[in-house]
Symmetry: C2
Subunit: 342 residues, 2 copies
C-alpha cells in the first residue's frame, strides 16, 4: 500500500480574521466531469485573547453569523479533552467546522478557490462535520453531521454543480453520525448506513435504514455491532460511500479501540440485501503507522469519508489526527487478500 500526506492544515487560510485553522480532515471525494471534487471539513478556533481568564469558543447564530462565546476557565468546566469543553449543564466544541471545496485534475494536487459551505441554521450552531458525497442519477447528495445545542443530527444537502447547494433538512435525528447513502436503489428503496449514539443500552454500532425519497428514512436495523476484544471494540462507523463490486457492496469503515486508536477496516455486503455481511477484513486494512497518522491534534486517528475505486486501484482519502488529509492507494488484489468470508 502506498501512503502519503496530501494536505497539511498549515497551508489553509482561515475563513475570517478572528479565526485560525487547526485542521483540514475527513474529506469526501467524487468524480465530476474531468475533475475530482473534494469536500473537506475545515476546523477553526477563535484566536485567544492575551488575558487568560476565558476560553473563546466559536459558534454560529442564525442571521448573525459568527459569534464568540466566552467560557470561564474555572473548575466548573472540564478542559481535559482538546475537542470539547464539558460542563454538567452544557458542552461546547473548542473549534467550529465548515466545508471547503477543492478541485483536482490528477487526484493528488488540489486547488482552493474560496469555495465554502458554511453553517447556516440552528442545527449547525457548533459547525458541520464529516461530509460524504453520493451521486444518484445526475444529482450529488452530501450527508453530514450538524452539531449544535440540539445535538448531533445527520443532515442532507443536494447539488447538481457544486456551486449552488440546497439544504434538505435533518434526515436522522440526534444523536447520529457517519451516514452514507448507497449510490443506487436496492429492491426499489434507497439505502443508508448510519451510526446512532446510544446512551443507556446498546453500543456504537452501524445501522441500516431505507427510504423512498432520500428525505424520510425508516426500517432501522442494526447491521454491524462493535466487537468486544477486537480492534473495533469501542465504536464502528461507516466511512466512504459503498462501492458495488463483483462480490457485493464494498464498505470501508472506521473502528476505534478503548484507547481511541482508529483503524480502517473493510466489509462486503450482499448486493441485494445490504443487511447481510458476506466478507470482513481478517485484520485492519489501514492503521496509524506514519508520524502524520500517529501525532497531531488528536493522535492515532485515521478516518475516511471518501474513496475513488478505478479499474486497478482503490484510492482512499482520509483524515489523520483530526488535522490533515492523507492518501493511500492499494490494489484490488491487496483488498481481496485482506478479506475473508463470514
Amino acid at each position: 500500500m502506498k501512503k502519503r500526506l496530501l494536505i497539511d492544515y498549515k497551508d489553509i487560510k482561515p475563513s475570517c480574521k478572528d479565526l485560525e485553522v487547526i485542521g483540514i480532515f475527513n474529506p469526501s471525494v467524487i468524480k465530476y466531469g474531468d475533475e475530482l471534487i473534494m469536500i473537506a471539513r475545515v476546523a477553526e478556533k477563535v484566536k485567544q485573547k492575551k488575558e487568560n481568564t476565558h476560553y473563546l469558543v466559536p459558534s454560529y447564530k442564525e442571521n448573525k453569523g459568527l459569534m464568540v462565546i466566552e467560557v470561564p476557565k474555572s473548575k466548573e468546566y472540564d478542559y481535559t479533552d482538546v475537542r470539547v469543553i464539558r460542563n454538567h449543564k452544557k458542552n461546547y466544541l473548542t473549534s467550529m467546522s465548515h466545508f471547503r471545496i477543492l478541485r483536482s485534475a490528477d487526484g493528488i494536487n488540489f486547488t482552493f478557490n474560496n469555495e465554502y459551505i458554511m453553517p447556516n441554521n440552528i442545527y449547525e450552531e457548533y459547525g458541520i462535520e464529516d461530509p460524504r458525497i453520493t451521486k444518484i442519477d445526475s444529482t450529488y447528495y452530501i450527508t453530514y453531521t450538524a452539531v449544535s445545542s440540539c445535538g448531533m443530527n445527520v443532515a442532507l444537502i443536494k447539488t447538481n454543480d457544486f456551486i449552488k447547494f440546497e439544504r434538505l433538512g435533518n434526515i436522522f435525528h440526534s444523536d447520529n453520525k457517519d451516514c452514507v447513502i448507497f449510490p443506487e436503489k436496492i429492491n426499489g428503496k434507497y439505502f443508508a448506513l448510519h451510526r446512532p449514539n446510544i446512551s443507556q443500552f446498546g453500543k456504537l454500532d452501524i445501522w441500516t435504514a431505507e427510504s423512498s425519497n432520500l428525505i424520510d428514512w425508516g426500517n432501522h436495523k442494526i447491521m454491524l455491532k462493535a466487537r468486544v476484544n477486537y480492534t473495533d471494540s469501542s465504536r464502528v462507523g461507516a466511512g466512504a460511500v459503498p462501492v458495488l463490486t463483483k462480490r457485493g457492496w464494498l464498505v470501508i469503515y472506521h473502528s476505534a479501540d478503548h484507547d481511541s486508536r482508529y483503524h480502517l477496516t473493510a466489509m462486503v455486503l450482499n448486493k441485494d440485501d445490504p443487511n447481510k455481511i458476506i466478507m470482513k477484513s481478517k485484520r485492519p486494512l489501514l492503521e496509524p503507522t506514519e508520524v502524520y497518522e500517529k501525532q497531531g491534534f488528536f493522535q492515532n486517528v485515521v478516518f475516511t469519508c471518501g474513496l475513488i475505486a478505478d479499474k486497478d486501484f482503490l484510492n482512499i482519502y482520509y483524515g489523520v489526527c483530526d488535522d490533515s488529509i492523507a492518501y493511500a492507494q492499494l490494489s484490488w488484489k491487496q483488498l481481496w487478500e485482506n478479506l475473508e468470508e463470514v
Copy 2:
C-alpha cells in the same frame, strides 16, 4: 377535575407461571365501534429464587420466547434504581413489559380477554413499552418503545381490527421514546412528535418529524425545549395523540423535574404548522396529589398515552407510579382556563 384510580396492578394475572405482574400503566385508548379499546403496558418480573446470590431478569429471545438472565448480586452491578440494573458493560431492565388489550362499554369498567401483544424480535428483547394509538382512515397505528441491547427504538404496529397486528419495523432509531402520530395529514404530510435521548449536547426535548408513508420519517425539527427552572426542567415528552380543536392541535405532554416528579401539561399547536406553539399551560394541568399518584413502584409519576375528547369533557387515562392506571375528567372550560397564548 374528577380523578380516580381505575385499574390496580394487583388485579392483573401474569402472562406465565414464572412471572409476576408488578404494573399495568401508561395506557393508550381509542374508540372502536361501540367499544373503548385500551392497550396497556403490563410489566412483569421473574419470581426470584430463595437463594439470594443472583437477581433474575426476564428477556425475550427470538424463536425461544421468555429467557431468564441471572445477574450476580455483586459490587460490579448498581442496583439503586428499581427499574434498571446498571453495569459499565451492560444494563438490564428489572422487569419486561408487554401489551394487554382491554375493552370497555362505558370508559370506566374494562374487561380482559387474554388478548396480548408480546415482544417478538431482537429489538424487543427487554420488552415493549408506552403504546399510543392513532386512527388514520380505517387503520389503527400503534407507536411504542422497543427496548433491547440495541437501544430504545420507536417501532410501529398496524391493525384494522385489534385482533391481527402487523409489525412495520423501527420508525425512529435508538435512543428515542414518546412518539405520537397526528391523526391526519398536514400540508400533504404525516406528522409526528418524538423524543430523542441526547447524550452529549442538547436535552430531553420534543421534536417533530414528517413522513409521506408513515414508515419513513425525516425533516426532524426541535419543537419544545425542556425549560430550566420550570416544572419541566429535566425532560419533556409527548403524551396522548394530538386532538384537533377550534384553536389548533391540543397536545397533553409529560414533564419531569430534577427529582423525577412528573406533571401533565398542555400546549396548542398551529393547525397548519405544528412546529408553532400558540398556547401553553400557565401551570401544570395535572400533578401527583392523590396517594396512588404519589406512592408506588416509582413515586410521583403521572404519565399519559391516551385521551378521549368528547363534546363536554377531556377524559385522560394515565399511568401512576409505574404501577397502576388512573383516570381524570376535566371540562373544556377548565382546559382553556389553564392555557395562555405564547
